[in-house]
Amino acid sequence: MFRKKRKVQGDETILSLARIVGDDYILYRKEDLIAYECDGLTLYKGMPKAVVFPKTTEEVSQIVNYLSNCNIPFIARGAGTGLSGGAIPFGGEVIISLVRMKKLLRIDYENRQAVIQPGFVNLKLTNSIAHKGYYYAPDPSSQYACTIGGNVAENAGGAHCLKYGVTTNHVLGLEVVLPNGDIVEIGEEGIADRPGYDLLGLLTGSEGTMGIVTKITVRILKNPEGKKTVLAYFDRIEDASYAVSDIISVGIVPAALEMMDKTAIEGVEAANFPVGHPKDLAALLLIEVDGITVGIEDEINEIVEVCRRRNVREVKVAKDEAERAKWWANRKTGFGAMGAISPDYLVQDGVIPRTKLPEVLAKINDISKKSGLRIANIFHAGDGNLHPLILFDAKKEGETERALAAGSECLRACAESGGSITGEHGVGIEKKEEMRFIFTDDEIEAQTNIRSVFNPHNLLNPGKIFPSPSRCAEIKQEIITNREPVIN
């Protein structure tokens, strides 16, 4: 697909895979594989054996069947925007890229469903149905690039998930190729509550370790009648934090409730989509309310009132769609914007009960001081989903390690506040050890036991999610121990 016809040369595995997908749809030369050494998490790298690009479910099934018979590990890959290293090989895996399976198969407005292939890009779904007044709710900031297959695997969230829920709340049906090559269909026709354990819920968020998703039925929603967006500037981060739980406590569930701190604001203002936020702010909140237009006005007034009680410096409502779009572009490109103020940055993804915001943000501030690294916070405040961005310079001796350690400390602070180590980016390679912050050995074993039901030989995406084994039974399961991630 990327080069003019050239006959595939390679070992038996390469030739067999090429026979399934065709010579044009396999990469196996070292120089072609470099792009697949990592995903959105660039701190770890591993060289795959090959990358194949199947076009159909049957091809995926044949590939998987072949690899499992040969005992060769394999990984599904979407757009590779994952931030926890879920699609990164340790070395020698075959990557099954779903990017050629990118069709929109069916839209059924009456039943509010869309059926798509896994390589379909998230934002394209909303774009395909917008003319009829419909949209797909989960909106990760990477939505212009990430695939819905990858979203299902990570149970992706987004800014508008506070009111509408994350990916799992919108997935109605899945076709999956199991690690032995069997094709199963779960939640046929998107019909709810089919008798049996909720495999749909279990597979969503399993980070590509239980099966390869080859078809997805999702719920689509009708656009709300009205939408209003508010920007609130605060001089004290505590005030902004308290305002967040106050809004929820007065009975408003905004569509989105986002926060940025001083360092984050400095970053987004220095990058491509500046809004002109004052430089001396401690924090800002970006709040969106949607629904029946006549009701929104009241809710906005109430939100403004709450902000005033929390000493807001200035609070304003977007005057038109253009201004609203500008505010959101500034927010949604926030991670990348850190590139404008730091050579490298590490994205973290902890969750806390939203009432603990002030104390956890204070702890993160301490971690920043101790590590000597700046940390920007830009996050989904409404659901307590923090994204500390640890700014560092990989070229400076020891800074990468310090950044990783600081990231881990942030997750510990989240766990200690009664929260979780990841809200939407997944565990992947990155947070395996941090799983121990929140789960006991028994609880981890309970999960790997379920993995074994689907993936008994652990050939599909091995070595992800769960910390290195602490007990013998697990060690037997874990394949090839010398595949430890390299840090470079």
Binding site: E189, I191, S245, I248, V253, G291, I352, S420
Partner: protein
């Protein structure tokens, strides 16, 4: 056995009943643990000694599945109740499994918050049971179901081990979403000993719009509903009710749509206006506001036959409950089919179906023969539409003659694998679930 159990829980909390019950799902004795430690000790004892355990909340679903009449131990969670932790600003609550839906509602109301579920018999149904049976009501359209609001569980595994799933925060993707395993698993995998759920703000205002269509005018329902779903309207329910049930609940003849509206008063009134403006010809429209609306919903919640109130079965006139799953819009045809079929089968049927979430419920009364034949026909009507039908409530004797869960799915081996991984010795709720799991 009882002597062994008395070492675990106070003897007052063990009832050595040999009680008969027309719905089965009994135990040689019933134990009422109050704490997780007690639940764990009971299961440890049972699994070590090869005892079979049935689990119940308060038993409103006694008639739901189950091919065995009696286990060694009936483990009732009804004494394991109370709020563990609540934080209004977090919009979450942690409770013990035996707390009833009504108790939780009353606890939350002063804080202006509520549970995101409207199941049948809230004064009896326990939160643990609602989750294990994945019960939902008409407002599921807006509220979602247990799989959407459960964020964390503590579960006692069949061997007595305590496993936490999920957490206490509303967004969480650490590890597998193990909560989902236990929602709707009918107590066949573990005993839920603590529950953390997402809440919602108590609506500031509510109304219920009843829109009744004459029986000749059914195609009108479809075009009206499609128009409504394609508008800016945000109903919390869009429940279609057959003439029999409509008459019983509201006195209105014909098929009636129950359109629930909740939110800020202004927006509720605005949506009422929309319905008035789009009212199809030859329909009757009634708007019930606030406590009038609540009153209807609370009667609605008492439609399902409640095993706690039925002590004897009359085979010439018994009642069963059926749940049918279909695509949203197909609900209209299924509700009609359920109704028409009742006319020539000599059964009395009350039906309601949620257009917008695809779950239809039918309560069928008649003699054994007629009821059984009705289930067969409804099941094939549901399956013809790509859906399914399960029998949610039936006396024990009848459950042997209907395949309560229908045929197991093509991926049944995965379900078996899960059961084996968690409960290899079949300690819990043996044969309660699909395919005899």
């Amino acid at each position: 056995m009882v002597t062994e159990l008395e070492k675990i829980v106070d003897e007052k909390r063990i009832v050595k009943s040999g009680d008969e019950d027309p719905f089965g799902n009994l135990g040689k004795c019933t134990v009422y643990p109050q704490t997780e430690e007690e639940i764990s000790a009971i299961l440890t004892y049972a699994s070590k000694n090869g005892r079979k355990v049935f689990v119940e909340g308060s038993g409103t679903k006694k008639g739901f599945g189950g091919l065995l009449e009696k286990a060694d131990i009936l483990l009732s969670l009804s004494h394991c109740k109370g709020v563990v932790e609540y934080s209004a600003g977090d919009l979450t609550i942690t409770v013990r499994p035996g707390t009833t839906i009504k108790e939780i509602g009353e606890y939350l109301a002063p804080f202006g918050q509520c549970l995101s579920v409207d199941p049948a018999w809230p004064e009896f149904a326990t939160i643990g049971g609602v989750i294990a049976a994945n019960s939902s009501g008409p407002k599921r359209l807006k509220y979602g179901s247990a799989r959407d609001f459960v964020i964390g569980l503590r579960v006692v595994y069949p061997d007595g081990k305590v496993i936490r799933t999920g957490g206490k925060v509303v967004k969480n993707v650490a590890g597998y979403d193990m909560n989902k395993l236990f929602v709707g698993s009918m107590g066949t995998l573990g005993v839920i000993s603590e529950v953390t759920v997402k809440l919602r703000p108590l609506p500031k205002y509510e109304s219920l719009v009843l829109l009744s269509f004459s029986e000749k005018n059914l195609h009108e329902i479809r075009s009206f509903v499609i128009q409504l779903l394609d508008s800016m309207m945000e109903p919390v329910s869009l429940e279609l009710v057959n003439p029999t049930l409509s008459n019983q609940l509201t006195g209105l003849e014909g098929y009636t749509l129950f359109i629930g509206l909740e939110g800020i008063e202004k927006s509720v009134l605005y949506q009422e206006m929309w319905i008035k403006e789009h009212q199809p010809k030859e329909t009757e429209l009634i708007i019930l506001q606030q406590h009038e609306a609540k009153k209807i919903w609370s009667t609605f919640a008492k439609l399902a036959p409640n095993p706690l109130r039925i002590k004897e079965i009359d085979e010439s006139n018994l009642e069963i409950g059926i749940k049918i799953g279909s695509k949203n819009i197909d609900v209209i045809e299924l509700v009609e089919a359920c109704h028409l079929m009742s006319l020539n089968k000599h059964v009395d049927v009350r039906v309601h179906g949620g257009i917008g979430h695809g779950i239809t419920k039918a309560y069928v009364k008649g003699n054994t023969e007629a009821v059984l034949s009705y289930v067969r026909d409804i099941r094939s009507a549901g399956c013809n539409k790509g859906g399914y039908a399960i029998v949610e409530h039936a006396p024990y004797i009848l459950r042997k003659h209907v395949n309560v869960w229908g045929d197991p799915p093509s991926y049944f081996s995965l379900l078996e694998g899960i059961k084996k991984a968690i409960d290899p010795n079949n300690v819990l709720n043996t044969q309660r679930f699909v395919g005899g799991l």
